[in-house]
Structure formats: structure tokens, C-alpha cells
Amino acid sequence: MLNRRTLITSSMAALAVAGTSCAAPSGAGGGDPASMLLADGYEPSSLNPLLGYARWGAAKFYDGLLAFDGNGRLRPALAAEQPRPSDDARTWTVRLRRGVKFHNGEPFGARDVVATYRAAVDPAYAATISSGLSMLDEVEAVDEHTVRFRLNIPYAAWPARMVMGILPESALAEAAPQENSPLNTQPVGTGPYRLAEWRRGERMVWRANRDYWGGAPRIAEITVVFATDDNTRAQRVQAGEFDGTVLPPLLAERVGGDAYRTVHHDTADYRAITLPADHPVTGDPAVRMALNLAANRSEMVDSLLGGHGEPAYTPIPPSMERFHEPEARLEFDQRRARELLEEGGWRSGSDGVRTRNGTRASFTVMYFADDTLRKKFAQAFASDAGKVGVRVELAGVDRTEAAERIGTDAIVLGGGTPLDPDPQTYPGLHSSMIGTGTYRNPAKYRNSRVDAALDAGRSTVDPAERARHYKEAQRAYVEDPGLVYLAFIQHSYVVRTGVWNGYQSVVEPHTHGTTWGPWWNVEDWTPKE
């Protein structure tokens, strides 16, 4: 259906371009600096933090204990100061901000934090974020304004789990699955905006929280219109209808004009091809290394992303500066790739596909059929693999089918968060994750040096020492790669210029759209005089 909708709206845009000189509707946005009109390509299905709404922060209706500062660090939000870990990183004590009120007028305190985290891990609530909090043993209120988290492992990345929105205890009184919780459509948080109206499938209105502890936002009202089709959104921006939107990079470059500027944000959002370890072809170290050398990542960044991205060799992007290891690279070298395959016993066959002991160098790469960018990465990868004699079959699948085949077939993976290197690396590469979940180390990668470095990285709280461990993990990984990391993609936006001050760039997680993007700190924006 997504495809049909895209077809319909794209042809609509095409008709409009072909048939007529587009009469620009008078822009509803742009006049009043106290209100803003944005268009988003995705509509959230729920605004409930327990179901994953804004789990990496930038939640307009909620605050976490901590908030991302846009560039690699977490600053106190509902916490009054940085959380204090014990030496073994198993106990975290957080003093809370005083005088904060929820949107419903209730005061915020330690009991709300306790209720939120308990609900997140209590099976009765069926929260979808529970797996990310599996290290949480107990959370307790030390006093009215202090909470203490006890973890079952030393976990230095715990602050990255403290950006999740805090709910009022009163909204969590009933221990029931969250699928029909009122919180899904009527968020109650402490955040800078409250939800004024949500017409499903159409638009959402955020209104400034006058009592916000950080000061009432100067932009009093923000309307987010949901328009799924990229071309339609681009057209409507061009007509002056919106103050900004998210677009694929190439389209974002084309629209705009004087009133708009196009911005591209660095991310931790990677695209990678998994190489199943127990597959006769992709499990062979020679093949794994050869495919990594054969992939022309710069070319993919240029042609698929219009240059708006960066080659990836490991899961940690250059934008996570402190943790990135610039030496951990796998340079493009198809000649060397062919040599490696020859040395590994893979001989060219008559059809150009190599074989070894009767096994053809061939495997399948799956991608989600409704994701065009992943499809393009899969195609580009298949083409590069073919150049060194490895045949890659492509399969567009839906999520259910992918989950069934992921252990045996390769897949285009995407995801990432810049908040901490642990969630970015551990679930994907650590051998203890094998078999614990569909997308947890799906390629069954095993490397004891990587395991040791990742374990060390999560069990020490000293930032410099952590950085050393993650750099070691990246070096160990590139010597024995188990996936082909292809690129970190930039997220692109157009935003109206000349009306507001306050834009600040941000390194983004996989999530993007109007909650992130230029508007991740919209509560701090001010009208231009």
C-alpha cells in the first residue's frame, strides 16, 4: 500500500508539473514568527515513551533525566546535575530538578521516575523498550528528589538510557499492556510543548508549555502536517506552504530557493550488509574480507546519497569523535579482493562466478521492500560483489519474512544512535548477543578481541579509558570484519530562513523528521527582530 500511495502521489506531482504552471497557494507559514508550520513524512503511531516514542531524546512533550546536547554529550534535564555512578558503574544516583510540573499540573518527583522505569521493564505493561533496559535491576526513590538505579552489570552507557521521557506516576497506575493506553494519543509529560490536537493521518499541533521549567518556548504553536510522499512535500515547500520539512538529500538540494536553506546533519545512522557466519560462502573469512575491499563506498555515497554521507567501515561514525578510530578502515581495492578470493581457494567459473569445492560463491541479500534507499544500497553492493566474482541475489522482503530468514540470508541493516558507543556496537557485534533476538548480532559475528574490548568499554566510567576500548574494538573488527558497513547517511532538511534565530546543528540517531532535524532544540528558538 505504501507503494501504491507513493505511486499515486508521485503521479499527482508529475501531473501537476506537466500540466500546469503551479499556482502557489498563499503560504500559511512564514507570516507570524510565533507559530511554525512543518511537514513530516512519517506520522508516529504512538506518543508513549514506553512504546519507544523519542527514546533517544528530543521528545517535545517529554523530558528525560538527561538530554542530548547535539554533539556527543548528555546534559542534565530533569536531573539537577550529572548522575553519579559508583566506581563499578553498577549504581547510579540522580538528584532531580525541583519545581517541575507535568502538563496536567502534577508536581514531578522521584516517584514518577521510579514508576516510569519500573513500567518500562515490568512485563505487564508490554513496553517495547524493555530489552534496552535489561541491565536494570531496581530503581528506587532515595528521597522525594533523588533516585537510585541498581544495575545487574557494570554499565557505563547507562546515561544514554536516561534520555527517555518521564511519565507521571498517576498515568501508570494500571499495569496493563500499553496498546490502548491513553498515553499513546494524549501525552502527559513535562516537556516544552504539550499536544494541543492530533488529527490522525493529517496533522498534529504542539502548543508551548507556559510553565516549562526551562522557560516558555518563544514559538508558541507548531503545526506538523503529515505528508507521506516526498515529492508532494517538496512541491508544497516550494509553493511556500511550510516553514520546513525533511526530504531525501537530492530532493532537498533542488527545492528551497531564497526563502529556504538546505541543511544536512551528520548521523550515527549506518547502512550495512550482514554476512551470516555459518553460511558456506559468507562465513569464509576470505570472502568476508574480499567483500569489504570490493565495496566502493565512496561511489555509493556520491551516487546514492548525492555526497551527503560518509563511508562506514565500523559502526562508530567520525561524528562520534571521541570514540571513532580513524585508522580502522577497509580501503577500496578490488584487485586485492580478487587475490584474497584466489588465495582462499575460490576459482573463477565459466559464468564469472567463483566456486570452491563445488560451492558457488553466491548468497542472497534481503532488504525491506518499502525502503528505496536500502534497495539501492543492496543493488550497489551486489554490483560490486559481482565485479570480484561473488554473485549476490537480491530479495525485497517484508519485516516478517526478514525475521524468518535473517539467520541464513544476508540483509541490509540500518540504525544507530550517537548518544553512546555501547548501544551502537554491543548488540550488533558482541558474541553474547547471538540468538537473543532477531536483530541482535544477526550475522552471528564472533571475535574474542572485539568482545573483550566491548565488555571493557561498558564497564568503566572513565571517558578516556572508554574511548581507548572502543578504538581497540574497531581495530580488531576491521582485521576480521563480519559485516560490510557501507555508509553513515546524512539526514537532509529544508528550513525557512530569516524568521528565527536558534538553529544549531546536531548529530542525529536513526530517527529523523520534525522532532529531530533543525527543530531538535526548537524550544530555544527566538523570533528574529
Partner: protein
């Protein structure tokens, strides 16, 4: 009209209604069971809908636990019985794709669909009576030939193409009407805004329903012209206007009413496409979302509503036929 005739018609209508309702119960039951079975056979796993992107971080143990909490591990026939029991006791269940109770989804969306479909149908009826009469009146003339040709052409064009053409010309080309949505992007919900945004989708829905109706009105008027009472009226020297509107049209109306009832299924599918194209937040566009998410409770209710609309449409048409047809009253 004699009293026995009237009471005879009333009895006939009551019997008709009773028989249809008796038949509707097993039909509705069967349809809802079929929805559950089809959704269960579809490749979509509802747990993926519940998790969304969180599935990428989820551990298998947690997913299994949530599946159990939501009752998704129970066999489909049991889930159907749970659902049926709920519906009979007034609990329509929870929509997973909308993440709220089904009753809430319906309350929010059904009025918009009824508004759109009602206006569309009314437009189609008025428009086809007018145009069909015009064509029959000028049978064989250039106007008749034009109307017939356009009518036949429109029959073959799917509603969403009509919708796209309408948007291209009236919204983007001429700039007269808004492209989509219930209101302008930044505006509050108000009658004027909704009316303005209703024009195009209702017109498209009405227009896409009208070809059959137009051609039918024309055809049955032509047939009526040959009937005795019409030729008699003409022979008495009554003016042509009076002959067409007073004598021929009432005879032609009866099969027309029946046809309107029979066109409810097309109205339903038309509404799905039109709501999609115009981002109209009605129930019809929710069907698609529900189907993709294997959202059984919502999908089943929406399918039942559509089925009920079709059954009701044909029932009303038949009742109207019994009540209007002078021959039924004569026999009664």
C-alpha cells in the same frame, strides 16, 4: 389507493425486512470469521506492528513475553471467539495500528466518511437525474451523444485517476480549491474550512459514481417514453416538459432507486481510493492501514461495516421498490 393495498404492502415490507435481517446475521458472522482467517494467513505478523522500529533492539524473550501479554500467541479461532464475545457485549476491542480502542477510532473517523460518502452520493443522484433526463429528452441530438460518450468513457476510469486529474486542474492549475486534508495546514477545524476541503473529494466520488446512473436514467426514461400512459399524455397534447417530468420520470425513477442501492459496494471502494488520495481522515483509509498491520479488531469491524452498508443498501432499494411500484399495490 385502497386501504387493503396499503396494509398488504406494509406486510410485504415487514416480511422482506425480517427475512433480510435473518439472512444478514450469518452473512456478517461468516464475513468476520473470514477476515480473521485471511488476516492470519497474511504474511504480516502483528507483533512487528506493535513493536515498530523497537523490534531491532528487542530480545527474543521480551518479544515472546509481549506476544503472550497481548494474547497474540493464542490460536486464531480462540482470538475470533474472544473478539466476538467482546463485540456482543459492546466492547469492540483495541486497534493495534491506531493504538487506541476501536470504538474511539470509529467515533473519530466514521463521521468524516459518512459526510463524504453522503455528499458524494447525493451529488451523483442529483447530477445523474439532471443529466440523464437531459440526454433522454434530446435523444439522438449532439448533447445526448456527448453525454453518452463521456458516460461510457468515465465508466472505465478508476476514481483515483479522476481524483488526480481534478487535483491537477482545480487545485494546482486554477488554484480554486485546496489539494488535500480536512482543513488548510495551519487552520482550525471549522465548517467553512471543511466545506471548502470537501468540495473536491465529494465531487470526485460523486462523478465517479455517476456514469452508470446517468446512462441508466437515460435508458429507463427512453423506455418510459414508449409506455402507454406517456404516449397517451403526448397524444392529449400536453407540453413536452410536463410529459417528461410528470409522466415519464416517475416511472423511470423506480429502477433508478433500486440501482442506487445496488451501487453501495462501488461507493465503498470509491471512498477508500478517494480518501487515500485526498488524505481524508475517514474510516475507509483506515482499512488499508489495518490490513497492513494485521490489525484484526479494526479490520473486522470495518469489513462488517462495509458489508452492513451493502446489505442495507440493497434492502432499502427493495423496500423502496415495494413501496413505490404501483403494480405491487395493485396486486396487493
Amino acid at each position: 389507493m385502497s386501504p387493503p393495498g396499503r396494509s398488504g404492502r406494509a406486510t410485504a415490507v415487514a416480511g422482506l425486512v425480517a427475512r433480510r435481517i435473518a439472512l444478514a446475521v450469518p452473512v456478517l458472522l461468516f464475513v468476520s470469521l473470514a477476515v480473521f482467517l485471511l488476516a492470519a494467513a497474511s504474511p504480516f505478523d502483528p507483533i512487528h506492528q506493535y513493536y515498530g522500529v523497537q523490534i531491532f533492539d528487542a530480545s527474543a524473550a521480551d518479544v515472546a513475553r509481549v506476544r503472550e501479554q497481548l494474547g497474540l500467541d493464542r490460536p486464531v479461532p480462540l482470538r475470533f471467539l474472544d473478539w466476538l464475545g467482546g463485540v456482543l457485549s459492546g466492547d469492540l476491542g483495541v486497534s493495534r495500528s491506531m493504538r487506541r480502542p476501536v470504538a474511539g477510532v470509529l467515533a473519530e473517523r466514521l463521521p468524516w466518511t459518512l459526510l463524504l460518502a453522503g455528499c458524494g452520493l447525493a451529488l451523483a443522484v442529483v447530477f445523474s437525474l439532471f443529466v440523464g433526463t437531459l440526454a433522454a429528452w434530446r435523444q439522438g441530438g449532439w448533447l445526448d451523444r456527448l453525454i453518452t460518450a463521456v458516460g461510457h468513457a468515465l465508466e472505465g476510469i478508476p476514481p483515483f485517476v479522476v481524483a488526480l486529474l481534478a487535483i491537477a486542474s482545480f487545485s494546482l492549475g486554477l488554484g480554486w480549491l485546496p489539494v488535500a486534508g480536512l482543513t488548510d495546514a495551519g487552520s482550525a477545524l471549522g465548517p467553512a474550512q471543511v466545506a471548502e476541503h470537501l468540495v473536491l473529494p465529494a465531487a470526485v466520488l460523486g462523478l465517479s459514481q455517476s456514469p452508470w446512473l446517468v446512462l441508466h436514467v437515460r435508458q429507463s426514461l427512453l423506455a418510459a417514453f414508449t409506455e402507454d400512459h406517456v404516449t397517451g399524455a403526448r397524444a392529449r397534447g400536453l407540453r413536452e416538459r410536463v410529459v417528461v417530468l410528470r409522466h415519464a420520470l416517475p416511472t423511470a425513477l423506480l429502477p433508478f432507486v433500486t440501482l442506487i442501492g445496488a451501487r453501495v459496494p462501488e461507493l465503498v471502494t470509491g471512498a477508500v481510493l478517494v480518501e487515500e488520495v485526498f488524505s481524508w481522515p475517514g474510516v475507509a483509509s483506515a482499512v488499508v492501514t489495518a490490513a497492513r498491520a494485521a490489525d484484526y479488531p479494526l479490520l473486522a469491524i470495518l469489513t462488517l461495516l462495509a458489508t452492513a452498508a451493502v446489505l442495507l443498501g440493497s434492502l432499502l432499494a427493495d423496500v423502496a421498490a415495494v413501496l413505490l411500484d404501483p403494480r405491487v399495490s395493485a396486486d396487493g
